[in-house]
């Protein structure tokens, strides 16, 4: 049998891989996609989407708790976590089927199996012990990433969950330890706290959501503490002892060491790229700290090999992967005016309560980069709509370059800010200055009026504070 040949093959069916395949097919490439498990990748199956389905449950729990404030009395409340997980899983499966449909619609050959590079432009795909070889002029690796373990603490799927296990609980933990207060950690802390668990959040850095602007972290921490989440920053979980009925964690922090008991632990200390068993070593493909090295268009040091998405390094976000997929394929196809990824224009969203969303540089990063800056701040407790929906906890912070007026960064915490950050993203892409943003008319009453006020504040002319 002759080797089947494609113009372009993609390894991995997540939001990087399947988007790359679709764009390639649109441009006329004879395209194949290799996926070893589920189309849609972590994002659709075990990440973004199923967690949002669970967090919707947390929102409802929260709404029910505050129903009394709006005059409702709710009796005989009961909660079955299995049904919530069932909802989450059904959404994931529906979307995965949607991706299969998109592959079919675009004439993409989907190959089930585990791929590895046999040589330049040569892929071995193994399924059920049988290896088939494929030739492709261009191979895009979009194999994603997985939760990282600590040297002393490993995810075992039982006492210690990774994000994946935390997404499909069979019972609600009563005392939960979340290790790591990045986006994933705070989302699970927020979720389980709303559902009724007693949550402790431990972070090695000096504040939670350390990648966000310090003002945002401070507000998030205040809101979490108010909700009863225990936060230990500058703290490290030294060890876990699971020999007893409960897991005993040894936590060291500014006030010395303490032993705390939990019935469940979630480890969320970052992720590591899926670069193993891809045949990278023998072909001398460059990797660094567990991730593939690629240029702004995804090109690696190996002829005909590209890397996009999580496996190509941070930020580890689905929309960054999809964007890289498009520019990588368009660059290969010679589409005019393709620009490399600008990481300062990749928005980040964290779906805790209150939500966090940001794009661009934090105040500290802007200063460190040598910008002379102008800051705008607006608190949601002066926003009518936020007060009306009883979610007036929040802040919109804008960072402008003093000279050029460029929007260097925008940082938001509050209700549905993840839907609002796009406005700042578009402004950045259009190179709008604070002047254009100030001139724009924002509709009333909306939470996003605060975006406008924050810009006005940067000019010293905020109207409502």
């Amino acid at each position: 049998m002759t080797t089947q040949q494609f113009d372009l093959m993609v390894v991995g069916g997540g939001p990087g891989g399947y988007v790359a395949a679709i764009r390639a097919a649109q441009l006329g490439f004879k395209t194949a996609l290799v996926e070893k498990q589920h189309l849609g990748g972590v994002c659709l199956n075990w990440g973004c989407i199923p967690t949002k389905a669970l967090l919707r449950g947390a929102d409802i729990a929260h709404t029910l708790k505050e129903a009394e404030h709006f005059g409702f009395t709710v009796d005989n409340l009961s909660f079955d976590i299995k049904k919530l997980v069932q909802h989450s899983r059904s959404v994931a499966s529906k979307l995965s089927q949607g991706v299969a449909y998109l592959m079919q619609k675009n004439g993409i050959t989907v190959i089930d199996g585990t791929a590895s590079l046999a040589d330049k432009c040569l892929l071995d795909v193994e399924q059920d012990g049988k290896v088939t070889q494929f030739k492709a002029t261009h191979i895009i690796l979009a194999t994603g990433a997985r939760a990282r373990n600590l040297p002393s603490i490993e995810i075992d799927g039982d006492r210690v969950w990774g994000a994946r296990e935390a997404m499909a609980p069979t019972a609600l933990p009563s005392k939960l330890l979340v290790i790591g207060a990045g986006a994933i950690g705070v989302e699970f802390a927020s979720l389980y706290n709303d559902l009724g668990s007693d949550v402790t959040l431990v972070e090695a850095e000096q504040r939670i959501t350390p990648a966000e602007d310090a003002d945002i972290s401070a507000l998030a921490e205040k809101a979490f503490v108010q909700r009863g989440i225990k936060i230990l920053t500058n703290s490290i979980v030294q060890s876990l002892d699971s020999s007893g009925a409960d897991t005993v964690a040894l936590i060291s922090g500014p006030n010395g060491e303490q032993h705390l008991e939990f019935d469940q632990v979630i480890l969320a200390v970052g992720i590591t790229g899926n670069i193993e068993n891809l045949g990278l070593e023998s072909l001398k493909v460059e990797t660094e700290k567990g991730f593939l090295q690629a240029d702004g268009f995804g090109k690696t040091n190996l002829a005909g090999l590209y890397a996009i998405g999580d496996v190509a390094g941070p930020p580890w976000l689905a929309h960054k992967a999809s964007h890289e997929a498009v520019i990588c394929v368009e660059k290969i196809a010679g589409v005019d005016a393709v620009k490399p990824l600008n990481k300062d224009q990749v928005p980040g969203c964290t779906y805790c309560r209150p939500q966090i969303a940001s794009v661009g540089l934090t105040e500290a990063q802007a200063k460190a980069a040598g910008h002379s800056i102008r800051i705008g701040r607006f608190n949601l407790n002066a926003n009518g709509k936020a007060l009306a929906i009883n979610e007036a906890e929040g802040l919109v912070k804008t960072v402008f370059d003093e000279q050029s007026g460029e929007l260097l960064g925008a940082h938001m915490i509050g209700p549905e800010v993840t839907e609002q950050i796009q406005g700042f993203g578009i402004a950045q892409q259009l190179e709008a200055t604070e002047h254009e943003l100030a001139q724009s008319i924002f509709a009333h009453p909306t939470v996003s009026e605060s975006m406008h006020e924050s810009v006005l504040d940067s000019l010293g002319i905020a109207l409502h504070q």
């Binding site: 006329g28 002029t137 040091n301 002829a303 005016a337 259009l430 200055t433 002047h435 254009e436």
Partner: protein, 492 residues
């Protein structure tokens, strides 16, 4: 009201495009069509592309049925409101297309219509050209003028130099409002207003063709209708290179008409041949008829070449050099050494080249195309390899720019990957010669009276005997064999 009747015309995508085949309609007569909808797929000699609706309305008539061939500019269909009477539609069709009465008589209709393109190019299509706007166009480079992105884009559309606009935005930045006010003050018409008021587009009007501002201005200056131009710019726009390609073609190459080609129906399932196939057929037939081909054949042992290839590929991660890349490099070196073969001949004039621009035949769906590795004599093997891979990728996608496949002083056709031992190729005019490359395979060879095994590749050169003598071809092949058998000598 006739001004609500909008025609759908055969577009002009390639500079050699004089006609197109109707591949498929997305709508049937009577369907509601919205501006921007895909209307009909047209196949040309180079590409299949989709015509989108520029107006909304009911598709009232289809005059170009699927499978038919129509000349550029021919009326293919009519969009109008439901209220427009059939009589008005018919009157519009009669006044807009002589082919309408008998859509089958395609090839007859083609000649007068395309002749109209040649004799009556580009009426003054930009309404602004006649107005006082030309004064606003003057001035130095305005790229440093502070202007909003929208204002800058509009300025390009109007052909306005931003140095002439007084900005009233913050820090005197030019806003969209400033620009439009200046255009109106200069007697110009706002584009948006003009668009909504435009009446039915008659044949030859290119004001609705999407084009870059520079392309539109050059086209106006040179009297080129944008419908004549290939569309290779981003977002489906005619770009500067497209207009210049037409200009070059008009000045140098007489317009070609091959509309008399008839289609054989002597097959069970007959179908019109594709535009690309038609071009291939015409060119190769002309080559075979006008250029007396003669062939010289040589075998080259490539074991040393394969060893060098392995070394390069294993030592350099960013190299995936193929045997064909070596052949390109060897041919380039040989062409420099035997310049008499690095030649084009148009029937009257000989053009000798100082660099080797080598066309590499790439098989694509339903045909082939020959992208050019230019200056191959100055490129290293890895660069040739990466260039060829990029060209082949884009050739298959139909994304080559005209200059990337037109020209070249020598051609290589390699069928080795199919296990072909040896074949003859037909010269790609106006080039003087083409090399046909067979598979490298282990064969018994006699060395110093001993039987041995070597990897041998058969090479056949077809040359145009009008301009290339047998001894020159033989000398080239001997030099080429030397480079292939001792690749290190190419470095010198």
């Amino acid at each position: 009201m006739t001004n609500e009747i909008k025609p759908i015309n055969m577009p002009k995508w390639g500079m050699e495009m004089s006609e197109g085949d109707i591949n498929a309609w997305y709508f049937a007569v009577g369907d509601q069509v919205n501006a921007g909808d895909d209307l009909v797929d047209i196949e040309t000699s180079k590409i299949i592309n989709t015509v989108t609706a520029t107006d909304s309305g009911i598709l009232r008539a289809i005059l170009g049925a699927t499978g038919e061939t129509h000349a550029v500019g021919a009326l293919l269909g009519v969009i109008a409101s439901a209220e427009t009477s059939d009589a008005d539609i018919q009157a519009f069709i009669n006044s807009n297309s002589s082919a309408a009465a008998e859509p089958e008589a395609v090839t007859e209709a083609a000649a007068p219509v395309s002749a109209a393109v040649e004799t009556a190019p580009a009426p003054a299509t930009i309404p602004q050209a006649a107005s006082g706007l030309s004064k606003l166009a003057e001035g130095e480079d305005d790229s440093l003028v502070a202007a909003s992105p929208v204002a800058r884009r509009l300025a390009a559309e109007y052909g306005v130099n931003l140095n002439n606009i007084t900005g009233t935005g913050r820090h005197d930045r030019v806003s969209k409002w400033d620009l439009e006010a200046a255009v109106v003050a200069a007697g110009g018409q706002l584009i948006g207003n003009n668009r909504s008021a435009s009446s039915a587009v008659h044949y030859g009007d290119d004001s609705n063709v999407k084009a870059t501002p520079v392309a539109r201005r050059i086209a106006t200056q040179l009297g080129i209708n944008l419908l004549e131009c290939r569309v290779s710019g981003d977002r489906g726009r005619v770009c500067k290179a497209d207009v210049e390609a037409v200009a070059a073609l008009k000045n140098k190459i007489p317009a070609q008409t091959d509309s008399n080609t008839t289609v054989s129906s002597n097959t069970v399932a007959s179908q019109p041949i594709s535009g690309m196939r038609k071009t291939i057929a015409a060119r190769l037939q002309a080559s075979k008829q006008t250029a007396p081909h003669f062939r010289v054949h040589i075998d080259a042992e490539i074991d040393a070449l394969l060893a060098v290839r392995k070394q390069i590929n294993s030592s350099n991660t960013d190299a995936k050099v193929s045997v064909n890349d070596f052949i390109v490099k060897a041919c380039a070196s040989a062409l420099i050494k035997v310049p008499a073969l690095n030649v084009q001949f148009d029937g009257e004039q000989l053009s000798y080249f100082s660099n080797a621009d080598i066309s590499v035949a790439v098989a694509i769906d339903d045909g082939l195309i020959t992208p050019i590795v230019s200056d191959a004599n100055h490129k290293g093997l890895v660069e040739i390899s990466n260039t060829t891979r990029d060209l082949a990728t884009r050739a298959k996608l139909g994304r080559l720019k005209p200059e990337e496949f037109q020209g070249g002083s020598f051609c290589i056709s390699n069928l080795g990957m199919y296990g072909i031992k040896q074949f003859d190729a037909i010269i790609n005019p106006p080039q003087g010669a083409i090399l046909a490359v067979g598979a490298g395979e282990q064969r018994p060879v006699v060395k110093d009276g001993e039987l041995a095994v070597a990897t041998v590749m058969s090479l056949t050169l077809s040359s145009d005997h009008r301009i290339i003598d047998g001894a020159v071809a033989a000398q080239f092949m001997s030099v080429l064999k030397g480079y292939l058998e001792q690749p290190a000598t190419m470095l010198g």
